[in-house]
Amino acid sequence: MQQESGNISEVIDQYAAKRLSRRDVLKRAGLLGIAASAVGPLLAACSSSNSSGTGSSTASGSQAAVGTPKTGGTFREGYDRDFTPPNPVANSWADPDFNALFEALVMRNPEGQIVPMLADSFTSGPTGWTFHLRSGLKYQLGAPLTPASVVEDFNIFRNPKIAQNPPFWTPIYDVTNDGQTIICKTKGPFQAFQETVVTEYSYIMNPVTWKAQGAKYGTQPTDGTGPFTLTSYVPGQHVIASRWDEYPGSIVPFFTNKGKAYLNQVEWIPITQASQRAPQMQTNLVDAVKNPPPQDVATLKANQNLVVQEFQELSNFFLSVNMGDETLGFDDLRVRQAISHAIDRQAIVSSIFLGHAAATYGPVMTRWKWYNPAVEQYNQYDTAKAGSLLDEAGWTMGANGVREKNGTPMAFTTYNLTDDTQNQVLQAVSQMLAKVGIQMTVQSLASAAFYPKLTNKTTSYAFKWLWSSPIDVVALFVQFYQPELAALKPVYDAFTTWQTAGNTAQLQSAAMAYQTTFAQLIPLIPIYTQNTIWVHHQNVVGWQPNQANLYPFYNDVWLQNA
């Protein structure tokens, strides 16, 4: 395979001579370590050179289009899930409409730093956090945005009887305000709060409306402070938000538009079937779409009316084996390491994702701002090592190709959330494990049946977290879904260091240390992070997803044909 790959220019030449399919090129480029996003434009240039040869670049990144923003029009965005009611307090999954309807006190910029949004300044220290609220703001239904209402919001978010993310708020024991300043009190440093206060589950909403609407919240105007108001929520069909004409403007530094929104409306359309996303984009049923499947990306990139961008998803896909299971030896570090060494992550990335993903050897994605590449020295693909580790641990090869110890075969079932791509990855993993004598059967379940399996009683499950604060969510998984074990103490300690870090530098080094500890003990076996692929029509300007946030913002978006 190595000799066959050659270098990228050879590969492209072969493609031009039609000896290789587009898929082959992308696969080989993946083996050469070249991001698919870089090869795409090359291929597009190749195919257009025969005809006009003047096609504008479909390269990712900056907006090529310029001109004066036009007001008006409806922007239709295809989304890869169905919509849940936009409710920051209780909601199974935050969707892109949150970024149009709500704002937070502070926001994360594309580089991952914290910048002002509803608060114009903020401080952090050993006694907690303060946020100074901008003055003259109001909620969409007319009530003033008072500091007291923000305090009430925060008290709802951190109340374990009402909200769903209180674990992330634990170090804060009191929230008050002093004039325009909101004060979150802690007993010690809590720099990690910067990762929580920017998530969708900390978005500011009028608590009066939230209480009045009760269970209906999210199906009627949500009364946040975002540039758009909720007009229509029809799950399975669409969510529509209309421009809020009294929007007071924004001070977020990375928004170009400081005033009210350009678009009349944003319409989000759920396209839950992966194979429908590219065709719907190509036939102009939507102006933008999230996550066409990897195999459709090349076709989309070849279309000169479309712009394809990709960023690493804020996620990581894990295979979890229950460390409390001593009969199968999952308490033994060597067994977990052997499983990890048996998985050829690069093959999965290049064949199933065609390069639109990255192998992971530690708890977080490789493009995270504080990623520690040191994790890569652990858990690499090495079947010989996997075999010898299992031998060492006493699991000897049985007659039928399945290892055994004390008469117990190394065979187990892994539960998986029904998803085409995850299924394929696990099919591949299953066969890789079979080669070292581990028999893993995959059982896919729909969400309502899958989630109840997520307990520390289940032998094995596979799961992807998707969250903008990786260390927090990984720690939560380890804590909830592995039994509390002395062997995991270093991981718990590393998380405590993260949670009590006093400034950004300390937070960063705690994050790095957590990753190495995790990679050494692998309480969950990391496999891959896939890329989020964002496609939009050339007509759309200012729809700019970024690496640090789950979804794009809508303040800057306008349509050239509005």
Partner: protein, 299 residues
Amino acid sequence: MAIAPALTGQPVGHRERGLLRTLTSRANIAWVIGSLILLSAGAVGVIIQVVPSLRHLYLNQDLEATLKPPLSPHHLLGTDNLGRDLGWQLIAGLGTSLAIGIGVALLSVVLGLIVGIFGGFFGRAADAVANVVVDVTWAFPAILLAVVLAGWIGPSLTTVILALALTNWAGFARIVRGEVLSLRERDFVNAARVLGVPKVLISVRHLASNLVPVTIVLTVYFIATSIIGEAGLTFLGLGIQPPMPSMGETLSTGREYISESWWPVILPGVLLVIIVLFLNGLGDHLRGQLDPRGRVQRR
């Protein structure tokens, strides 16, 4: 006049030739050969799944050779998205689908015969009960049953067979009931009743044996509809679980690659159409031979 055969349990009816002879006559030889080919391909498909040392044929992945087109070296029909041989995948999938089809058909026929005869032959009260059961089943969507079963026993082969059989038998029960209603007034049944033969025995001996032609024809149609039903349920994520292949599994996975390569979806699609065309043709043919009065309507 028909008392003697009724008492000795001889087959009774309008046919003069034996059932077996009808099926193997010259006019039927093409259909017999076709059925044998289909059944042996299905048997091969089951065998390579059951024998552990043969599983590699359809399960072996080659992530370096994914989605190779047909006529590639070592892969006559190409490979799928995980680099597995598509030809063997189709044969193994055919085995699964035929097993499901036959399983559903047998289960539906047994249920349909029991409830149909019960309703048609055991008095008004029995008929009313049987009718309610049939009508409630008739109105219950298969997908709901599949979800319930998938929740109980996990999505699997058994789930598919049970879900399809439990929603399909009602139609057959109706036909059986109609048949029984007309048969029970016939001389030989009346004669047996007069002679004090127990009702259960009459049902088994006379009614069931007279229902054989209808049953055979319907079984063939049931196999065809169940193969389609499996593919539908699997498509919705409620059916067969990978790595077990089936016509539906191969089709719905292949569909994800529709814009890139045609063979993972077209080949199983064409195979499915051929099988259904054959089974429908066989059913029509058998109907012509065994059911000249046209009591059975397809589907």
